[in-house]
């Protein structure tokens, strides 16, 4: 194909997306579209499975049986969502194993929020309420993204995740209606998770790269700052219902904007965590590598067994 042909194809491609047509895996697509999607969808998948770890570590310590099964089901859903997203990435011509390799080597990124430690039971509430709450805002927008398999995975994920945030909020609500110790636990948890949750929407628009391209491809429907504002505006009234205070002295309702003004985010901390130096980056990746490496003999065995079985079948047929 010469350059002019490609240019032509690209134009037709961009027009299809502008018309809200979906792009399917076997369709022609610009190489950059493919690469960007592999990066973003796998990053999303990695976030799901690394996200299992901070909550997974509380399954054995959940305070009641009802909480235990709910938390187990929630963490299991995250495995499912990781699986749907890896599958969507695989349609672009890369294997799950290659994607794991990128995660384990540190080449691929995942949401920074999971590099913070979950140290009290209240953190199970805060993660569900804030982290899932922030994730849902991003994910709902992605249900209409241009790449078919990604959009379909997002629709399924959004449907399943509807209980996650409620689960978290209910945990906190119970604490806030409980003893002083429990209330303090809830407040402490909000103090620690609030700012990292705001960072989940990514750097401020002025510093955000490839936003324009992502908007065009509908990988992004609103800017980072717009989504962050939306999250804050919907979360503050919820904190009021709980009766706990967001740790931001500059937070104030702005009547003119009909939105909350809020304080400065510590972007230095954000970049430190993104670059691999958050409180738990090493632990998270090591846990993933450990699970994967300890599973080698199991996966090999299953394959060897399958081969033996199909050989047996063949021999019988002959």
């Amino acid at each position: 194909m010469n350059e002019k042909d490609i240019k032509n194809l690209e134009e037709i491609f961009e027009q299809r997306i502008a018309r809200d047509e979906k792009i399917e895996p076997k369709d022609w697509m610009p190489e950059k579209y493919r690469q960007t999607h592999i990066r973003q969808i796998s990053q999303h998948a990695h976030s799901e499975i690394v996200g299992m770890l901070p909550e997974g570590n509380w399954i054995t310590r959940a305070p009641t049986l009802r909480r235990k099964v709910a938390l187990l089901a929630k963490v299991q859903d995250e495995a499912g969502h990781g699986l749907y997203l890896y599958s969507a990435t695989e349609t672009l011509g890369i294997t799950r194993e290659e994607l794991y390799e990128q995660l384990h080597s540190g080449k691929a990124k995942y949401s920074s929020i999971f590099n913070y430690p979950a140290i009290t039971w209240a953190d199970m509430g805060a993660i569900g309420w804030l982290v899932d709450g922030a994730a849902i805002i991003n994910q709902v927008a992605l249900c209409t993204t241009s790449f078919g398999p990604y959009a379909r995975a997002m629709v399924r994920i959004c449907k399943e995740e509807s209980f996650h945030q409620r689960q978290g909020f209910e945990i906190l609500l119970t604490l806030c209606n409980g003893t002083e110790v429990q209330k303090a636990m809830a407040q402490d948890s909000l103090n620690r998770w609030w700012w990292p949750s705001l960072m989940m929407f990514g750097p401020p628009d002025a510093e955000s790269t490839h936003t324009e391209q992502s908007m065009k491809w509908k990988l992004k429907r609103k800017s980072n700052d717009d989504l962050r504002q939306q999250f804050i505006d919907q979360t503050i009234p919820q904190a009021e219902i709980l009766g706990i205070k967001v740790p931001d002295p500059d937070l104030k309702w702005n009547e003119k904007r009909k939105s909350y003004d809020f304080g400065e985010i510590d972007w230095e901390e954000f970049w430190q965590v993104v670059k691999g130096h958050g409180p738990c980056n090493k632990e998270r990746i090591n846990a993933r590598i450990d699970a994967w490496e300890k599973g080698v003999w199991v996966r090999d065995a299953a394959l060897a067994y399958a081969e033996k079985q199909s050989d047996k079948k063949l021999n019988k047929a002959v």
């Binding site: 305070p63 110790v181 846990a287 599973g295």
Partner: protein, 251 residues
């Protein structure tokens, strides 16, 4: 208590589900791959669901008002009466599958008979559980075959797990005083009646998996009397952490 034997009989079954469910819960997020991780969590959820059904039922037998959580979280170590097998650690995936398999074969046979219990609640729980347990059995026995008849390494590891855990299988068939009283009353299942069938079934699958049957004739017991392995204390430390650290609170 109105019916101490009934209480203890059901507690014995329920504690097995609780502790095995707890052990499997440790693995969530650490399985050999995503699909297997999800499957193991499903089994854990089934077991914990059954546990809740049993505990909710026997909580009503208490004189004082008790909840499922009181029973699950607020007993001392000697008051848990699960068999030793289910508290054994997740040493490696072979151990997880061997433990599951040995338990599932027993659990399935128990549920089949428990459906016929004169106690309607118990029979209803068993009827619901049997569908779940049938699936567990299918899942674990398939994996025993895959690992036993997979690679050289997996065969070795699976055999290691079978040999280690074999000594805990006999305890299933020990009858406690509560067991005997409930069998007498037509409520409990006389598990000694299917002991032979149990070992036949286990041997059949192990043989298909090219594994040799546990050689040891020396078996371990004690769990049913509340005399556990050293692992149990650590399991309870995690299980009870919240309830013990913050007593008398709602979660």
């Amino acid at each position: 208590m109105k019916n101490k034997n009934l209480y203890n009989y059901i507690l014995g079954i329920a504690d097995n589900s609780l502790i095995l469910g707890q052990r499997l819960g440790e693995l969530c997020g650490h399985g050999p791959n995503l699909e297997t991780d999800i499957a193991l969590t499903n089994i854990s959820l089934d077991l914990l669901g059954q546990t809740r059904n049993y505990y909710q039922y026997i909580a009503r037998l208490h004189d004082k008002e008790k909840t499922e959580d009181d029973i699950a979280f607020l007993r001392s170590e000697r008051e848990y009466i699960n068999v030793l097998l289910v508290e054994q650690p997740n040493t490696h995936f072979g151990f997880v599958m061997a433990r599951q398999f040995f338990y599932d074969v027993f659990h399935l046979m128990l549920m089949e008979k428990l459906q016929e219990s004169k106690d309607e609640t118990l029979s209803a729980i068993a009827k619901k559980a049997i569908k779940e347990v049938s699936y567990h059995f299918r899942f674990s026995s398939d994996w025993v075959k895959r690992l036993g008849d997979g690679t050289k390494e997996s065969h070795y590891k699976m055999q290691e797990a079978v040999d280690e855990l074999w000594r805990f299988t006999d305890e299933f068939f020990h009858l406690t005083e509560a067991d005997k009283a409930m069998i007498e009353a037509g409520i409990g299942v006389d598990v000694s009646n299917f002991k032979e069938a149990y070992y036949i079934k286990v041997s059949e699958i192990l043989t298909e998996a090219t594994l040799s049957i546990g050689a040891s004739k020396y078996f371990q017991k004690g769990g049913k009397q509340g005399i556990h392995s050293e692992h149990m204390g650590f399991i309870l430390t995690e299980l009870q952490y919240m309830q013990r650290t913050y007593p008398n609170m709602k979660w």
